[in-house]
């Protein structure tokens, strides 16, 4: 069976590594990027089934990446889950306004993340 591919874009390498392990354990194929520019490029080239996107990233921030993808007909159907340490109401609003399908905060709940991913795929 073909595995769903998830792209994780986050500049915290340790964070990327542990989320990757969790997702691979749950049967997903995982691709990663450590900055905004690389993340946007991989999203466009690899066309993942879902993107997990941090908000504060070097080169291009997560909100902008989300807008660039969601306002582009070609990529707007890729679900985006923003996963950020920014936890205030205004950050959540900004994430959803930029087109994210879901906004979760760090530290996240494994079960919740997996449920969100499965509901969006």
């Amino acid at each position: 069976m073909l595995k769903n591919k998830i792209l994780i874009v986050d500049d915290e390498e340790d964070f990327v590594q542990v989320v990757k392990m969790r997702l691979e354990f749950n049967g997903f194929e995982v691709s990663t990027a450590n900055d905004g520019k690389e993340g946007l490029q991989k999203a466009r080239e690899e066309f993942p089934n879902l993107i997990i996107l941090d908000a504060m990233l070097p080169s291009i921030d997560g909100f902008k990446i989300c807008k660039l993808l969601k306002f582009d007909e070609k990529y707007q159907n890729i679900p985006v889950v923003m996963l950020s340490a920014l936890s205030q109401d205004m950050d959540r609003t900004m994430g959803l306004q930029s087109g994210a399908d879901k906004y979760l905060t760090k530290p996240f709940n494994d079960q919740e993340l997996l449920e969100v991913i499965n509901s969006l795929l």
Binding site: S87, Q88, K106
Partner: protein, 269 residues
């Protein structure tokens, strides 16, 4: 909340200076310095909290990757060690969550989502949650409501108010020693409701109970052995109650008992 109020006072003062136009340059400079200092204080807490969240998320995920045996089975001793790690992660997580919340309250960045709620049912359900823990410490939790079956509707933010009463009730349970009691009374007043929580235990009442409402203070209440915290629970509760335009006070009721009195307007306007 206090910092925000002070900032607003300073901006009003600055506004007056701009209107009268005859003010000294040094007065404006010292005012701007004061505003800058206060702004720094509000952003400091929120930046520190944000920086703590990411490493915390990584530690959490590492713990659960191991306890979920993603990379192989654990021996009973290894499971025991991971339980200790998990317990301390949860402790750290609570501290950071409280710090973030306090910084949001101080800088007035919380948006309340109001809904009608039966306050009797709401408080009873929170008490029910603590019943088992309290029973384990031989502490009795009692709600003494007049006509408990008749709803008493109050407009408030349910999630935020849960934080308030979770803090107040868990604080009482934590600080009174075995064999005490927690009683909650409710008074239906013309425009507001008054909730009185009285705890009586075996610990001496602090000399100045109002210090319990200051951040980073737990003065005078002798916590149970092993408990450590930042003393943010009651200040957070007071901040949330004030955002609802209510009041939160603490009174001494005996040598070994205190009372927390919360008043909340029934309608938001």
């Amino acid at each position: 909340m206090r910092i925000f109020t002070k900032l607003r006072e300073l901006f009003n003062k600055l506004n007056k200076f701009l209107i009268i136009k005859t003010v000294k340059k040094t007065d404006i400079e010292s005012l701007i310095q004061e505003i800058t200092e206060l702004s720094y204080q509000t952003t400091f807490l929120s930046t520190v909290s944000h920086e703590l969240r990411t490493p915390l998320a990584i530690i959490k995920e590492c713990i659960y990757l191991i306890t979920d045996e993603v990379k192989g089975p654990l021996t009973p001793e290894q499971k025991q060690i991971m339980l200790i790690a998990e317990k301390n992660y949860l402790r750290l997580d609570k501290l950071v969550t409280d710090l973030v919340l306090m910084s949001e309250i101080e800088s007035n960045r919380i948006k309340l989502v109001y809904a009608d709620l039966n306050i009797k049912e709401f408080i009873s359900s929170i008490c029910a949650k603590y019943k088992k823990v309290a029973e384990g410490k031989k502490i009795i939790i009692k709600t003494l409501f007049q006509s408990p079956e008749t709803p008493l509707m109050v407009e408030l933010d349910k999630l935020k108010m849960e934080i308030v009463f979770n803090n107040i009730i868990s604080n009482s349970i934590r600080f009174i020693k075995d064999g005490g009691s927690v009683q909650i009374m409710l008074n239906d007043l013309p425009n507001c409701v008054e909730i009185r929580l009285q705890d009586i235990g075996n610990s001496p009442t602090p000399k100045n109970v109002n210090l319990l409402l200051e951040i980073f203070r737990q003065d005078g209440r002798s916590p149970r052995s092993g408990y450590q915290g930042l003393g943010l629970g009651l200040p957070i509760s007071k901040g949330i109650v004030m955002m609802h335009k209510g009041t939160l006070e603490i009174n001494t009721i005996s040598e070994k008992g205190i009372e927390v009195v919360v008043t909340l307007p029934k309608r938001k306007n």
